[in-house]
Symmetry: C2
Subunit: 342 residues, 2 copies
DNA sequence: CTGAAAGCGCTTACAG
DNA sequence: CTGAAAGCGCTTACAG
C-alpha cells in the first residue's frame, strides 16, 4: 500500500471504486455517499496524496493563483522596495490564502514587458499591481493589459478613465489633513518634500491637499519651500540640505512618504535643528518604523490590511465575473511626537 | 486571424504545419528548420500566444516554480516579518527568474502544516525555507519534508545532522568578530541582547562567538549582562530597560540582530546615555536601515545577494538531481559610528 | 526535418 | 449514488 507518487487512479484501485468517484470524493461532491467519501479521503491521507494542480488546472482552466507585480523604484542598483509595499505583500498573501489562492511574486522594472503572459499562460488567474510608478509609462501598459482581457487590480491612483480597477487612498484628503494639522499648531512656513509631477499622481495629489489646506486657512504658498524628493534612502536627507541652502525660513515639513520624512528628520538633527521644537515633521504611510523613530513620527495612515483585503476581494471578484468597483479609502492622521502636538 | 485564446493547434493551422512542429519550434528545438521556426514564432507573437503552463507541466512533471516559505515570528498580531528576510525575498525572486523559475510565496506559522503539499501537488518543484524558527519544532518538520522526498533549501543554521541542505552564515565567527571589535576598543562590560536558547541555534551561535571572544581576550563573562530579547519591534527597548534595572555597569551592547540593536539605541538615548560615548553598540544582519540610523550602526553583514543566489542555485541543483552541498558564508564586520571606532 | 499518436492526471457532462 | 468516456493543451518517443 506504499505508492511513491500516487494518482487518483491509485486511490481508486485501493478503494475499489472508479477514478471519477475518487475525484468527486476529494472535492467533497454531495454526489458521493458519505461513507465512500470518507474511505477515499482516508486513503488519500494515508498515501500523502495531493491533487495534481497542473492536471486540475488544465481541465478547469484555472490556476487558483494570483500574480503580484511589484515595481522596483530604484533602477538597477541596490534594488530596495518601499517597506510600505513589502508589508502589504504579507497581508495580500494572507488575504489570498483565505480565498484559497496562492500568490506568485514578480519584481518588475517599469520598463519591463508587463506579463500579460501571467494570465495568458495560465500561471495566474489575475494580477495585482503594486508600486509608485511613473504614470505616463504606467498608463500605456495598463491599456495593453486591458486589451488582452487580463484581470487586474491596482493599488494606487484612481484617475479619471484609467483602465482597470483600483483601490487607493484619498491622497488629497490625506495631504490636506497633514497640512491642516501643522497649520492648526501655528506653523506657517511648511516645506513640502516630494513630487508634484503628473508622473506620480498619488504623490501629486498629496501636494494638492497641501495646497488646499493652505488655501482654506488663507495662508499663502511659498514656492521656495517646495523641494523635489524621491522616495528612496538618502533622498529626504538630501532634500533637507537643499532646503537649508535656500536660506528660506521654515518651521515645519510635510514629507510625501515616511521614508522621506524619517530621512529628513535625521538631516535636521545633524544640522542642529530640534524636532519638533524648531521644525515639526509629518510623513505619509505609517510604515512600522514611524512609531519607533525618535521623536516618533506623526503621519497619515493608509490601512494596509483593509487595502490588501480589498485588492484580493477585487481580483477574486473579477475572476468570478462579478462586478467590481474601484474604491477610495479614507486616510487617517496619526498624531505622534514629531509635530509637537503632544 | 484573430483567435481569443489561441492554442498550439491554432498556430499549427495558420502556419500549415502539425501541432507537434509548433511545440518544437516554440521550444527552440534544433529539429525544426530555422525558417519554419521563425514563421511559427512570429505567428505566436502576433496572436499573443503563450504556452499553457498547466498542460506543459502536466506533460513534463515540472512547474518551474519555487515555493518560498516565510515564517511569521510574531504570532498573530501585527504580523511583521523581519526586514532582513523581506529583502532576501527580493533577491531570491531575481535569482530565480534568472534560472527561469517563478516564486510562490507563503507565510507560515511554525505551527502550520508544512506544505509538503507544494511539491506533491506539483505547484512547486522545490522549497526555500526562510525565518528564524524554533529549532525544536522546526527539526521534526524538516524530517517530515525529507521523508516525503521534498526538495528544499534552508537559510540558517547548519547543524550537525539536520535533514536537508542549507546555506547559512558562520554565526559563531560573526558573534566573535563583533565582540572582538568592542573588546579591542577597550570595552570590558559588554551586554548581550538576544537568545542563547538551543531553540534558536543561529542566535545561540552568535552568543557562542561572544563567549569565545571573551575567552580569547581573557575577559571574564558577566552573566548579569545577558538579557533575553526576541527580534521584534519594542523588544530591544524593553531589554535595555531591564538591563538598566539590574544596575550592573556596562559600556557596550552586542545585540543579536539589528532590529534589536536599533531599538536598544533608542532606549539608551531616551534614558540619557550617549551612543557610542557611554555605550558602544554593535548589531547583526546589516539591514538597510542600519546605515541610516543616528549614529549609524556598526554591524555584522551577511551577504544577502550571495545567500539568495546560493539558495536558488541549490534548489535548482536539487531539482536537476545534481549534488548540492550545504555551505557556510563568512560574515563581515561593517564598522560605522555606533561603536565609536570612527 | 516533420507528422501521427500516445499519454500526462485530472473534471465533468452523460448515462444508468 | 457510481462508472465509462471524452477531453483540457501540451511534449516527446517513434516512424518516416
Amino acid at each position: 500500500m506504499k505508492v511513491s507518487n500516487p494518482t487518483s487512479r491509485d486511490i481508486a484501485e485501493i478503494a475499489g471504486v472508479s477514478q471519477a468517484t475518487v475525484s468527486r470524493a476529494l472535492r467533497n461532491s454531495p454526489l458521493v455517499r458519505e461513507e465512500t467519501r470518507e474511505k477515499i479521503q482516508q486513503i488519500a491521507r494515508d498515501l500523502n496524496y495531493f491533487v495534481n494542480r497542473n492536471a486540475a488546472g488544465l481541465r478547469t482552466h484555472q490556476s487558483n493563483t494570483i500574480a503580484l507585480l511589484l515595481f522596483d523604484e530604484t533602477e538597477g542598483r541596490h534594488a530596495v522596495i518601499n517597506p510600505f509595499f513589502l508589508s502589504m505583500l504579507g497581508f495580500i498573501t494572507r488575504a489570498a490564502s483565505k480565498h484559497g489562492y496562492d500568490v506568485l511574486i514578480s519584481m518588475q522594472q517599469l520598463s519591463d514587458d508587463w506579463h500579460i503572459e501571467y494570465q495568458a499562460s495560465h500561471r495566474a488567474d489575475g494580477l495585482i499591481l503594486l508600486g509608485y510608478g511613473d504614470y505616463v509609462t504606467y498608463r500605456a501598459k495598463l491599456a495593453a493589459l486591458a486589451r488582452a482581457n487580463t484581470r487586474f487590480m491596482i493599488w494606487g491612483p484612481t484617475i479619471n478613465d484609467q483602465p482597470g480597477h483600483s483601490i487607493g487612498c484619498d491622497n488629497i484628503n490625506g495631504g490636506c489633513q497633514a497640512t491642516n494639522h501643522l497649520l492648526q499648531l501655528g506653523r506657517r512656513s511648511i516645506a513640502f518634500l516630494g513630487s508634484t509631477s503628473k508622473r506620480s499622481p498619488e504623490l501629486a495629489a498629496r501636494y494638492d491637499g497641501y495646497c488646499a489646506a493652505h488655501h482654506d486657512a488663507g495662508v499663502p504658498l511659498n514656492e521656495r519651500l517646495n523641494i523635489p524628493a524621491w522616495s528612496a534612502a538618502g533622498e529626504g536627507y538630501r532634500a533637507v540640505e537643499e532646503l537649508l541652502q535656500r536660506r528660506e525660513p521654515f518651521d515645519a515639513i510635510f514629507a510625501v512618504t515616511d521614508v522621506i520624512a524619517i530621512d529628513a528628520m535625521r538631516a535636521l538633527k545633524d544640522n542642529g535643528y530640534a524636532v519638533p521644537d524648531d521644525v515639526a515633521v509629518v510623513g505619509f504611510d505609517d510604515i512600522s518604523l514611524a512609531e519607533h523613530v525618535t521623536p516618533s513620527l506623526t503621519t497619515v495612515r493608509q490601512d494596509i490590511t483593509l487595502a490588501a483585503e480589498g485588492l484580493v476581494d477585487g481580483i477574486v471578484g473579477l475572476i468570478r465575473g462579478e462586478p467590481v468597483e474601484s474604491t477610495l479609502m479614507a486616510p487617517q492622521l496619526v498624531v505622534r511626537a514629531s509635530c509637537g502636538a503632544r
